[in-house]
Structure formats: structure tokens, C-alpha cells
Amino acid sequence: MNFDYDSEQNDLREAVRGLLARAYPDSEQRRAVVSADPGFDEKTWSRLAEMGLLGLPFPEDDGGMGAGPVEVAIVAEEIGRVLAPEPFIEAVVLAGGLVAAAGSAAQRGEVLGALAEGGLVPAFAHAEPRTRWSTTAQGVTATQDGGSWTLTGVKEPVPNGARADVLVVSAVLDGGGTGLFLVPGDAEGLARTGYRNHDGTRSAHVGFENTPAEPLGDGGDQTASIERALAEARIAYAHEALGAMDSALRITAEYLKTRKQFGVTLNKFQALTFRASDMYVSLELARSIALWASMVQEAGGDVVQAADRARLQVSRAGRHIGEEAIQLHGGIGMTAEYSVGHYTSRLTAIDHLLGDGDWALARLAATVNSYETVDPLGAPYA
């Protein structure tokens, strides 16, 4: 058992941190980038590709780097640290991860190769209006006619759905089950309307009307692939949240040391410093479980339950730290000009992207009577 990063992983972190620090030296730069479509910086996206990060988790045969979950976690944490709006988790870990898991060799080569080079942004179209987080599709149906397939229905909100060059779409199959399909951005019968999310990122309403679609891999029910890809994305989001929480706490502590009221700096008030201490406790507990979830993934353990555990802890921590960071600042924390509130907004978005804390808790609660105690170093995790 070992929680240390190796030297290559530390080098990767330094490189990513350096790149993102140049791209987002302050929160004004991020504000400028997210004020215009597509809500991220295409040049920064290209630089991430040049560094090999957009193919990080994919096999080398598919044009990737063959790196593991810990490397993905490092990139996600650095993205969170500066709130970089580039859709690394959405495009690479989630949409790319689905293609890597379920796609044919030809589809993997085509999609993942272009994604790794920075020439193609995929997005996973899965959420549907008036539903909650789910592994299955309900409102978009797939119809087979001879050798070809079409999709009909609505997906929304689809993160980066308007900018995406290709959509990975979940849809109800004729015979039941949920299939996965590739739909190019210029497909017939595809209507996309993009908009801005509260955290500066973008989503879209995506309508399908007899839209031609290509089944991913051999077709058929892909629920298991979806469950696994969502779990891996939840773990990556846990690390993005760690980076964001770490920054929010650091910014808050700095402010307490410099802001003066009643003739003294705010860190003279125990009512404030104790609350900052509690934020640190939340952060470190969340960090432990996020690191663990990545190690479970690497060890081939029960990644779905590990992701649920990380989701629950990080959801609680993200709300706690995000809310307190604003409160400890006072009015300045409410303003768009100041950085800290943007961290809270992003943490709130991450929390609701693939299932929040209560959602994860309900899944964990359903299993508590099936075992006596939890051993994080034993079955089913290691």
C-alpha cells in the first residue's frame, strides 16, 4: 500500500500545472474565455493535445498514451485548481472512454486518434429532460431498418453538445436495453441549441428526428459499459473537485490573513479560523477517498462502488467548502469579478453532473445489509 506519486507522475503534474497556469494566470482570463462560445479556449485544447493529454487513458494502438487512472486524476486535479473550462473529463474520460470500451477497432482508431490529436471533440449525450441520473436511456429510441439505424427523441442538457464534432448517444433499443450510437455533428435530423451553464461551461438541447446513427461496436445493450464509464468519470470529477476545493480553501485562508475589519486581520477571529480548519478536514478526507478510488480502478476492483463512495464524500466536501469559502469572504465572495464564487459554481456543477451525494448515498444504502464491515484494502476493492 502506497499513496505516493512516482517521479513521472510528479513530472506530469508539473507540466500540466505549468501549461494551465500560462493559459489561466488569473480568474479574469477564465472569465474572458468562458464569455464566448464554445466556452473553452481552442488554443489551450490544442496544447493539451500536443502534450498528449487528450489521448492519455487510451491504448497506444488507438492513438493514445496508455496511461492509467492516477495520471488521469492528476490532470483532472490541475484542471480544477484553475477552473480550466476545457472539457477534458467530458470529452476524453467520458465520451472517449465509452468509445474505447465499446467501440470497434475502426471506431476506436477513428474517434480516439482524432480526439488525441485535438481535431475532434466528442460529447456523451445521455441526460434527458424530466429524468434523474440513470444508467439507461428512456426518452431517445433507436429504430433499426435493415442494416441502418435511426434515433428519435431529445437529450438535454448535453455538456458541450453544440460544439461537439461527434455525439455518443444512449438510446432505448427495440428489444429493450440501452444501446450506444455515434452521430456526427452534421447528421440529418439533428437539431442542436447550445447555451451557457451557470459555471461558464456549455450545454445543449439536442433533438433527434429519424437521425441516422452508427451503433458503437457490435451494438446491443451497453448498460454495463455506460455504468463503468460513468463511474470512471465520477472518479475523475472527484479529482477535479479536489483541485477546486484546494484552491478555494487556499484563496480563503489568504483572504483571512489580509482582509482587515475592526482594526485587525480576519484571522484574529476564532469564529472564522475554526471554520477554515473544518474546511481543511473536509478537503483531506475527500482527497483520501478520491485517491483510493483511482487506486481501486487501477487495481481492477469494484470501480462502480468506489466511485459512489468518492461521489458521496466529495459532494459533501464540495458543498461545505464552496459555501464556506463565500461566507468567510463576505460580500466580495458574491461578485463575479472575484475568483472564489466561481469555484463554488463549478463545484455545484460537478456535483450535479453524474449523480449527487444523496444519489450516491441511496445506492450505497441499498447494499449496507449485505456485508458486516468495509475494508477499503480488501474485497471487493483490491
Binding site: L285, L312, A365
Partner: protein, 391 residues
């Protein structure tokens, strides 16, 4: 990064588990599992059983019975002990005065005290807190004045846990009232509890138990040779000792055991004919606590895996704070599961209320102490704010 324990550590864990679950008398482990107070004889038997196997003081120097284990091995040893409901070696002996004498005592003191301390042939108690010196320990007022070959001790200690069983006390005394800083004029003396002038008065607690005491000193004569280390350096030894006190204070294995018991109790209680275990709200409370405990256990593992170079990991201060909160939350949960049965705390033999439900509320009330002792949680927050966040 790697999740799994090495094969050697897996074998070590199995060895500990087997020993604790087969060699420590079942009747003692049942008393711990039932959250009943252990008798003096049970404490002594448990510690001597461990000491016979070299498992009572593994963290001491090897020449005095230590094992030269890594911090991770010590963590596994402690966790397995708690999971098996084995009473931990008496902390006043094993974690407090033993390591201090081993580090700062004279050769003569080491030979005189350490073997008997490891075997619980001497039962030690702690003379630290005073009525006006709690978290602000350095304000203590008990004095020791030199008179010929003796120190003469006068004053009062309080919160002396299990002092009623103790043979000896280790006692912080003010030996230089003129010292510029109040921390500088304190010395550490040890003396028998049956010395003339020592009186002990039990303090009844809100759970009905009498585990702590007040201790009064009236012209107690202590031979000069019973000074541990150097005169007026007692504060350094106290800090060293309290650092050891916080090791293992998270008590993760013990809380894990409590949650497992909570699940059993949920199956035993019915609500409208259905087991309480089927109630989704109760299941959610268990699941949330269990997840908090996983996060704490992993944090403890990060700390022990990283503390090999002797420097404390920054996250270590989280362990006491969160560990005590989770112990308290688990005892609170069991009171809630007992529900109306939780009132029957002192029901006698012919009561139909199960034993665990009778013990639930006294246990909960007793555990309010864990966020107070060992440096209160507010002291921990002060440490985090100051030494980690720089506030």
C-alpha cells in the same frame, strides 16, 4: 501508488487477527463488545496475555520489549486489536509513561519501571489536569518543593482516569514558580498512590460510572530519585507524551465494530412487523457513517504510510478531530436504534430489554468525553488553523 498491502503485510495482518481472536479470553472480549466497564483483573489479564506474546508495547525501544515495526504495522496491530474487541494495552502504561521513561529516564529508572510497566505489574495513572488547568495545561499549580533528599508535593489533580486501580502516578508539578515562561518551571515526578498524604476521590459521571477521580496531595514526600529526566523540563516530556496519546486516538477499528453492531441491532428491532434494517432512512445513516469512516481510515493510512521519516503528516491532526466525531456519531446511532428501549439503562436481570439497548445511552453519554480528552477538538482546530493554514 498501490492499493494492496504487500504479501508480507497481509500475512502480518492475518497473524494479528488470528492471535487477537483466539488467544485473548472470549469473556474479556465480550465485555468490550458489550460496552461494559472492564474490571481491574480483566485489564491486567488482557495486557499480560499481549505482553507474553510481545504485543503489549511494540512501539517501545526494542531492548525494552519493542518490535521495531513500521508505523503501518503499528496501525494494523491497533486496528486489528479494536476489531477483535481486545482491550488495548493500558494507555497510561503503554503509550504515556512507558515511552517517556524509555526516552528520558535514567538507566536505573528504566530497569526499575519498564518491565513492570509493560506487564501491568505496576498500574500507572496520569496526574496532569487540574481544576484550573485543562486545555491550558501549563497553568498547573500543584507544587513540588525540594526538602533535603525529597520533593514535597502539594496540590490537586483531576480527571485521573482509573486512578482507583493505580499503584503509581506520574505527576506534573511546578518546581520553579519564578520561571519566566510558565512552561519552563514544570517537572515530572512519579510516586506510589499509597504514599502518605495522597487521597483519591471518585467523580461520578453522567453515565453513572466512576472511571475518573480527583487526587489530592498534602505534603507528599517523594524521593529525589523519582524525578524523571531533568528538573524543569517536564513540559517537554508532557508534549512528547501527549503526542503519543494522539497516536491511534482515531479508533477506527472500534467505530467499525460499532457500525457492525448497529446493523445487527437493526435486524433485531421491528417496526410494524418489519425489521428496522429495511428502513431506508436508517440504512442511509449507516451508509453515510460508514463512508465517513472509510475516508478517515484512508486518511490514517496516508498518514502512517508517510510518517516513516519521523515528520508528522499534515493530515494527522484530522484524525483526532474526525475520529472522535465518528465515535460519537456511532454511539448516537445505536441509541436511536434502541429508541424507547434506550431508557432502560439500569434495568436488572428480569428485564426483557436486550443488553445492548440498556448499555446504549450510558455508552453514548460516556463518549461525549472523546472530543474533550487528548486535546479537545477546539484545540485540534486551533492547531490546524495555525500550523497548517497559517492563520
Amino acid at each position: 501508488m498501490r492499493l494492496q498491502l504487500s504479501p508480507e503485510l497481509e500475512a502480518f495482518r492475518e497473524e494479528m487477527r488470528t492471535y487477537f481472536t483466539t488467544q485473548v479470553p472470549q469473556e474479556i472480549r465480550d465485555t468490550v463488545a458489550a460496552h461494559r466497564h472492564l474490571s481491574k483483573e480483566q485489564y491486567v489479564e488482557a495486557m499480560r496475555t499481549l505482553n507474553a506474546a510481545g504485543l503489549a508495547v511494540p512501539h517501545w525501544p526494542v531492548e525494552w520489549g519493542g518490535k521495531d515495526w513500521t508505523p503501518l504495522q503499528r496501525h494494523i496491530w491497533r486496528e486489528e486489536m479494536q476489531l477483535a474487541n481486545v482491550p488495548e494495552p493500558l494507555p497510561f502504561n503503554a503509550s504515556m509513561i512507558g515511552p517517556v521513561i524509555a526516552a528520558f529516564g535514567s538507566q536505573e529508572q528504566k530497569e526499575r519501571f519498564l518491565p513492570k510497566t509493560a506487564n501491568l505489574d505496576i498500574w500507572w495513572c496520569q496526574g496532569f489536569s487540574e481544576p484550573d488547568a485543562g486545555s491550558d495545561l501549563a497553568s498547573l499549580r500543584t507544587t513540588a518543593v525540594r526538602d533535603g533528599d525529597d520533593w514535597v508535593v502539594n496540590g490537586q489533580k483531576t480527571w485521573t482516569t482509573l486512578g482507583q486501580h493505580a499503584d503509581w502516578i506520574f505527576c506534573l508539578c511546578r518546581t520553579d514558580p519564578t520561571a519566566e515562561k510558565k512552561q519552563r518551571g514544570i517537572s515530572l515526578l512519579v510516586f506510589p498512590m499509597d504514599s502518605p498524604g495522597v487521597t483519591l476521590r471518585p467523580i461520578e459521571l453522567i453515565d453513572g460510572g466512576r472511571e475518573v477521580n480527583e487526587v489530592f496531595f498534602e505534603d507528599v514526600r517523594v524521593p529525589a530519585e523519582n524525578l524523571i529526566g531533568e528538573e524543569n523540563r517536564g513540559w517537554d516530556y508532557a508534549k512528547f507524551l501527549l503526542g503519543n496519546e494522539r497516536v491511534g486516538i482515531a479508533r477506527i477499528g472500534s467505530t467499525k465494530r460499532l457500525l457492525a453492531q448497529a446493523k445487527e441491532h437493526l435486524r433485531e428491532i421491528t417496526i410494524d412487523g418489519r425489521p428496522l434494517a429495511d428502513d431506508p432512512f436508517m440504512a442511509a445513516r449507516i451508509a453515510e457513517l460508514e463512508n465517513d469512516l472509510v475516508a478517515l481510515e484512508l486518511t490514517a493510512l496516508r498518514v502512517v504510510a508517510n510518517s516513516a521519516d519521523g515528520k508528522p503528516h499534515p493530515a494527522s491532526s484530522v484524525l483526532k478531530l474526525r475520529g472522535s466525531e465518528l465515535q460519537q456519531a456511532a454511539t448516537e446511532l445505536i441509541v436511536d436504534i434502541a429508541g424507547p428501549l434506550s431508557l432502560a439503562s439500569f434495568a436488572e436481570k428480569d428485564s426483557d430489554v436486550p443488553d445492548w439497548a440498556r448499555a446504549a445511552t450510558p455508552h453514548y453519554l460516556n463518549y461525549r468525553k472523546v472530543s474533550i480528552y487528548g486535546g479537545s477538538n477546539e484545540v485540534q482546530r486551533t492547531i490546524i488553523a495555525g500550523s497548517i493554514l497559517g492563520l
